[in-house]
């Protein structure tokens, strides 16, 4: 079973106005099979946490540690982290012109596994996963994220998670901007991954709605660059009725 351990994580970003401290001491441990919801207002640093874990070059870690199964994640390059089992479903997936989804998926799978997947099972797996996510087969021949609708981009992220089978998945606002049908499809995808693998999930969200479909084991309230409070699913219900005001007031 995998364990992701984040201790006292601090991160900064360079802005035109100077260096800005965004993460201010994040402590969080996620074990394989667990689902942790990270909920917080816009601008609190949730995406920064996700990017910092994945190794985005814009964010500098100034303090703290991150380990995956005891290995120092912060020492790894972006692609090494992915190969170590970390997966980030991005809030704003990037367009890659000239690269088809099918080519991209196969290249990623090969890189992660260290060998090319057997052609026959791979074609079947991709088709099956796309069916599950109600994605048209023609999708495979389109360029990655080019001209995708918001919902298509998110489904494509979950498709990758389903095929890559990470041990630790960070889902950054995968629910935002989806209509109810799309939300259900995407949530089903996440739940399937939970059933079929022992993946640990960091479910970053601004809204409580997705928690009706993907049940969290733990809920963390993220405010001003750190976790302000944590609890079980009941904390989400409290947030749903009260909003973030109480935490914001406490943080300021």
């Amino acid at each position: 079973m995998s364990v992701l351990e984040i201790k006292n994580l601090h991160a900064t970003v360079e802005t035109p106005e100077g260096t800005k401290q965004i993460l201010k001491g994040v402590d969080l441990t996620i074990r394989g099979g667990e689902t942790h919801a990270i909920m917080g207002p816009n601008g609190s640093g949730k995406s920064t946490l996700a990017y910092a874990l994945a190794g985005h070059p814009k964010y500098e870690i100034t303090e703290g540690s991150v380990t995956l199964d005891g290995e120092d994640v912060l020492e790894m390059s972006v692609d090494e982290r992915a190969r170590a089992g970390l997966f980030l479903a991005m809030q704003y997936p990037v367009e890659v012109p000239g690269v088809t989804v099918s080519n991209f998926l196969r290249t990623a799978k090969t890189a992660i596994d260290g060998e090319a997947p057997s052609l026959r099972t791979w074609v079947k797996d991709v088709k099956g996963a796309m069916d599950d996510l109600r994605m048209d087969p023609a999708f495979a021949e389109r360029n990655v994220n080019e001209g995708f609708s918001g919902g298509e981009k998110k489904r494509h992220e979950i498709l990758q998670m389903q095929l890559i089978k990470p041990s630790m998945a960070i889902l950054d606002e995968t629910d935002s901007g989806l209509d109810v049908d799309a939300l259900r499809i995407v949530s089903d995808g996440v739940n399937r991954a939970k059933e079929n693998t022992d993946v640990g999930i960091m479910l970053i969200t601004h809204y409580t709605r997705i928690l009706r479909y993907v049940k969290p084991d733990f809920v963390h309230v993220f405010v001003n660059g750190r976790i302000a409070e944590q609890g079980g699913p009941e904390l989400a219900e409290q947030l749903e009725s009260e909003g973030y005001d109480r935490f914001l007031a406490a943080a300021n």
Partner: protein, 439 residues
């Protein structure tokens, strides 16, 4: 369709690394667009200044910048070397070109044995022959528009003449292999390619080694014939090459012209295609990959002088490394007589690293309102850190991520090259180019 239904503007997109710009438009009355981006550190000072859009419509005349005020049709053509001025950056068609680098090619000196040429003819081709100056069809199509072309024309005593005879379809290509014998050697060449009535042939011109080479390629595309020309600039790093390709396309004839520039220190290929009769088609495809300190320029001119002809221009380039430069200028002229014209031109550039710069200037001049369609698109994008991050976040190592994107960028164009071994060669060359910069 009237002229208001097409968009017709001259625009320029100049991009230095971190910037990205798009110039695009579609039929159906799109407003003129001029996109420019020069956010790079060295944006100011180096290279030509940006030009504002310049419209050239029959009823509006040539307003806009002084550069584009003169019609492309007005350019002087003459075999007399004395009629052409020495290239200078004040002259529109040379303003992007590093003249000091090309200077040896502007000197009117006798050529040396700078390039060794080997020709192989396919079965069914006409017997080997050459053409002296003034010996038709030599000189009937290509009349020099600039000094180096005039020098090469005057200084080449015998031009190679490759002919596909009337009513023959040649399955295998003609191959002209030119091997440069040394970067210090100056040479000239002139070759006349001819497909006679209702014939079909492919001509592959391959350039390797190193030389200072000025070359004229004259293409006589007979009525109802099909000509494919593939010119590969695969020179060593220190070669200089100026080439002028000039085609006349007959009635119902088709020319597919493909220029691939990967090697050389500085290469400039000027491709001119004109229609002499209705029903013709020109497809100009191009691919280039500019490395550190490399200058690659492609100029195109499609002259729609006859009605009901179609032209399609598509060039794609990638750039990487400090001072990697590319220039693409695409002129299309639709003359008064050219009713029913259909034309589109596209140029895309992919800037892979900082310090590289791509200039892209599409230029559409329309003298008749009765056309089918006309459009252009030019865009320069940067291979950015976000793309790289996205691919790497899926476990794909950096070098492979770049390769994936660049291969994808060129694939669509390479698929249109009908000679399989050249397709494979190009994919391999792109890998080599990429590997070069990664180490």
């Amino acid at each position: 369709m009237t002229s208001s239904d097409v968009y017709d503007e001259t625009s320029i997109a100049t991009v230095e690394d971190p910037a990205s710009a798009d110039v695009a438009g579609n039929a159906a009355g799109a407003a003129p667009v001029a996109a420019q981006g020069t956010l790079g550190r060295e944006a100011a000072g180096s290279g030509p200044e940006l030009e504002d859009e310049a419209l050239a419509l029959p009823d509006q005349g040539g307003q806009g910048s002084s550069h584009a005020a003169a019609s492309r049709a007005d350019r002087l053509r003459s075999f007399e070397r004395g009629d052409h001025s020495t290239p200078s950056s004040k002259i529109e068609e040379w303003r992007f070109t590093p003249l000091r680098r090309f200077a040896p090619l502007f000197e009117d000196v006798a050529g040396e044995a700078a390039v060794e040429v080997t020709v192989s003819r396919p079965e069914g081709a006409a017997a080997e022959s050459t053409l002296g100056a003034g010996e038709a069809p030599r000189g009937t199509v290509l009349v020099p528009e600039d000094l180096p072309t005039a020098i090469a024309s005057a200084r080449t005593e015998q031009a190679l003449h490759l002919v596909a005879p009337k009513n023959t379809e040649l399955a295998e290509p003609f191959r002209v292999q030119s091997v440069g014998q040394g970067a210090e050697l100056r040479g000239h060449g002139h070759v006349v390619l001819e497909t006679q009535e209702s014939s079909a042939a492919t001509f592959v011109l391959n350039h390797t080694g190193s030389a200072q080479y000025v070359q004229n390629v004259e293409m006589v595309v007979g009525d109802n014939s099909q000509m494919t020309v593939i010119t590969l600039q695969d020179w060593d790093d220190d070669a200089l090459h100026i080439a002028t390709h000039h085609a006349r396309v007959g009635r119902d004839a088709k020319l597919k012209h493909i220029a691939v520039s990967l090697g050389g220190s500085a290469v400039r290929v000027n491709t001119i295609g004109e229609f002499s009769a209705p029903g013709g088609e020109i497809e100009d495809l191009g691919l280039y990959f500019s490395d550190e300190n490399q200058f690659l320029e492609h100029r195109l001119f499609v002259d729609h002088a006859a009605p009901n002809c179609t032209s399609n221009v598509a060039y794609k380039g990638a750039l990487q490394g400090q001072k990697a430069r590319s220039v693409w200028v695409g002129d299309v002229l639709i003359r008064k007589a050219a009713e029913g014209t259909n034309t589109y031109e596209l140029n895309r550039n992919l800037v892979l690293t900082e310090g590289a710069r791509a200039d892209s200037v599409p230029n559409l001049e329309i003298e008749t309102g009765e056309i089918e369609g006309a459009g252009h698109a030019a865009a320069t994008g940067r291979f950015d850190d976000e793309q790289l991050f996205y691919l790497r976040a899926r476990g794909i190592p950096e070098q492979e991520a770049r390769r994936l994107v660049v291969r994808g960028f060129f694939a669509e164009l390479i698929q249109q090259i009908d000679v399989p071994e050249i397709r494979e060669h190009l994919f391999a060359s792109i890998e080599t180019e990429l590997a070069r910069s990664m180490n």
